[in-house]
Amino acid sequence: MDQGFTQQDRPQRLAAKPLKALGLLSALLLAVLVLAGCASSSASSSSGGGFQGVTPATADQSLGAQQPSAGKPKPGGTLNVAWVQEPECIDAQQDWVQNGYLYSQYYEQLVSAAPNNKVVPWLANSWKVSNGGKTYTFQLKKNVKFTDGTPFNAQAVVTNFKDWLNPKNTADYNGYVAVYIADVFKSAVATGPYTVQVNLTKPDVFFLDGLSQYAFGIASPKQLSQPAGVQCDHPVGTGAFKVDKWNHGQDIVLSRNKNWNSAPANERHKGPAYLNKIDWRFVSDNNTRWGAFTSGQSQLLYDIPAVDWKQATSRYQVLRHTTGANPLRFFVAAKWGPLKDVRVRQAVQYAFNDNLAVQTAYRGERIPNKNGSLSPSSPGYDNAVNNYYNYDPAKAEKLLSAAGWSHRNAQGYRTKNGKVLSLRLVYSADVVADSDDLLLFQILQQELQKVGIKVTLIPTPPSQGWAAPQDQPGQWDLNIGYWVGRSAEGFHTLWSPKLAGQPNPNNLTGYFDPVVTKLINELDQTPAGPKQTELAHKIQVQLVEKDAVVLGVSGMQVTLAAGPKLHGLWQSPDVGEPVLSDAWLSK
């Protein structure tokens, strides 16, 4: 039964303002990693396209008080989770990263993200790469069922691929998936009841990295056939938990999938999850969320408020994961305005005291990083680039004067031909930028003021969605964002002139350097190794040192705090989701 799905319609231009995502792995996980090897028995544990090795300085961490040894895991109990943003829909087709944490509790991918940029078996027991890297053949697990009773098989996987990439199917179309594979995807075919063959148009060394991400969770075909409204509320996957009830505006109640038999290779224990239920509450208010956690009403806290960071690390077990791909950084407008002059862009780099700013705004929760082109947790990250523009206001002033901005007006701002050197910093309030980020902007504002640059903060309201006029070319000078992924595949996502056949919507700068484009194309087809590292290095140098089109702030850190009764918690290396199938509660 060779039903396949050939992609005919290229997806619309997709994607994105950077997603606020977080992926990471905890140090605990490192210790447990070895298990992966044992568990995956026959799996051809291949590595993804990414690099080997982790920059030690940015290793994910388990911080704060260590949990006292609580003895053997006990099954049962309800875990109260205090989360932040409530999704509009909780089926995987809505690709907002905040939903990803939830999806990971009930959806599973074909492969699982493992530390050191590896992928290990999950719903696929093993896979083969052939045809010069253009064909992936997956052998699926047998006897796995979706929680609605539908059997999991090759056909189900094909249906998912088909729906993800069909832009006309507005309910199931998955923009995030499209960003990753639409440029190379050709077809997905069920070559056997449990064998799926995915054909690519050209080799892509990051293909498996993509499949390991939350957005590639396999949904029940029965669910996918439902109308959008039903799907939205009632996602069905194969995961360790299933959705019982969504009390809109309040919480989502998950319960254990008693028949769970499809754990990833890096799962730490066998058999269904320990927890009976999870009460996944949405508490957007920092204060209340922190209060609920410290009072013991919640055992798991997501996104520790910066102001409470110190207290959290001294009193509770804290997990922190730095996501891969693109870090928290400003796009710097290189095609218009005063920043068209590379000297001004460089001056901005020098004038920004990232250590002080990040320390003040995030109070230790985040780690400064001036290399805005690649996340510190991504293999291939170049620390030398991070240090290139070390804080040096004197240099900044010199560059600005050299660029002709030599006069100062009464307020101390630099002028040229009577025009004030003024920059517009645009951010999406409450979606991309939270109150801590706002502090960062205000510090940057002050830092740049010192060297004579005026900065105006311009929020784009959430109700303008992703189409805020302030984000259009020519309307901004600095634009905050991040792109959460796994590693250097982020170069392709942000800096290729075309994505899925359309002008790249993720890049707001309009800066597409032919040299960079060429390097990226090469990188996408170069397997891990010194050559790949060299290519990545060149891209970073070009983007940051030479052209200064990104101004790095810090890695994107995903933080979790666990209450004293919660044990066995770890973060997935994907986007830092809490892995709750291993977690358990003591009395």
């Binding site: 208010d285 204060n287 209060g291 102001v307 705004a361 309030a429 929020p459 309201p461």
Partner: protein
């Protein structure tokens, strides 16, 4: 019969504008109202010339002394970036007070138009406007404001408009009632009997008398408008989060209420002080206009 006539023969008439008059005038104002007047004056200074009250530049960051508790040098403590919270509150006064003044002002002007149409425009106009007011009244103010912000996008002007639209029906309804009452008042009939044209009666008697309570209501409304507007900021749908009004300070302070309570308490406290002060003054004005306070020697 108990004719409740009070003999005022003991009262000494004071010539308006004389020193003695002003002295008596000052004496007729209770202490509490004086305190309120002083406070409102401070708010006006803060709004018009914030530099006079600011102890340092509200934007001056001192990252080494962030989240400092209130002290003599920083009355309201310092914020996350070591800025002086007192100076920031002072700097925010202008925008907050403007929101209150303008929103209430627009509401009152709209209310006058609607109220006049209903109160004096004849039976049909009255029926239509009264129904319209009832409809507008049925929209809870903040919900209506949120809907308006949803549809027209968040900005300072939309926020002001939303608060104005939300509060206008209340004033209009009051003014209409007042106009209807005044329209039938004895002195209007007396003026008709004298033979004055209706236009003159409206401008000389009906309008000034009907509008009188609005003066104090306007004052009272400013406090409520500031509260509503700051509520919208608090929900994060008001003006941009980096605008300097009190609501934004409150919104920003919320995250710190455990670690640095003063960042939440100070702007809230200032809103309360302003609202109470204008309420005290508004009520006193009410008393004066209704003749419950008189200036007299003795």
């Amino acid at each position: 019969m108990s004719a409740t006539t009070v003999g005022y023969d003991d009262c000494v008439e004071l010539p308006f504008g004389s020193a003695a008059y002003w002295k008596a005038f000052a004496k007729s104002i209770p202490v509490g109202v004086w305190i309120a007047i002083v406070l409102v004056t401070l708010f006006v200074i803060a709004a018009v010339a914030p530099g006079v009250l600011e102890s340092q530049s509200p934007a001056a960051q001192d990252l080494t002394s962030s989240l400092g508790a209130p002290s003599l040098s920083h009355l309201f403590g310092t914020d996350q970036l070591g800025r002086d919270e007192f100076s920031r509150v002072v700097a925010g006064t202008g925008q907050s007070v403007i929101i209150g003044l303008v929103a209430t002002g627009i509401a009152v002007v709209a209310a006058i138009a609607l109220g006049l149409a209903a109160g004096l425009g004849g039976r049909w106009a009255d029926a239509i406007v009264s129904r319209l007011l009832e409809v507008l009244f049925s929209f809870p103010i903040l919900l209506l404001a949120l809907l308006i912000l949803t549809i027209f996008g968040a900005s300072l002007s939309t926020e002001i408009a939303a608060v104005a639209i939300g509060t206008a029906p209340g004033y209009a309804r009051m003014l209409r009632g007042q106009l209807v009452a005044v329209r039938d008042a004895g002195y209007v009939e007396a003026a008709r009997a004298v033979g004055h044209p209706y236009g003159r009666i409206v401008s000389q008697h009906i309008f000034p008398n009907a509008i009188r309570p609005l003066v104090s209501l306007y004052t009272l409304g400013i406090g409520q408008s500031v509260i509503w507007a700051s509520g919208l900021s608090f929900l994060g749908v008001g003006p941009p989060p980096n605008s300097p009004d009190w609501g934004t300070l409150l919104y920003a302070g919320r995250d710190y209420v455990s670690a640095a309570w003063w960042l939440e308490v100070a702007p809230g406290f200032v809103i309360v002080v302003l609202a109470v002060s204008v309420t005290v003054i508004g009520r006193h004005l009410q008393d004066r206009l209704e003749g419950r306070v008189r200036v007299s020697a003795g």
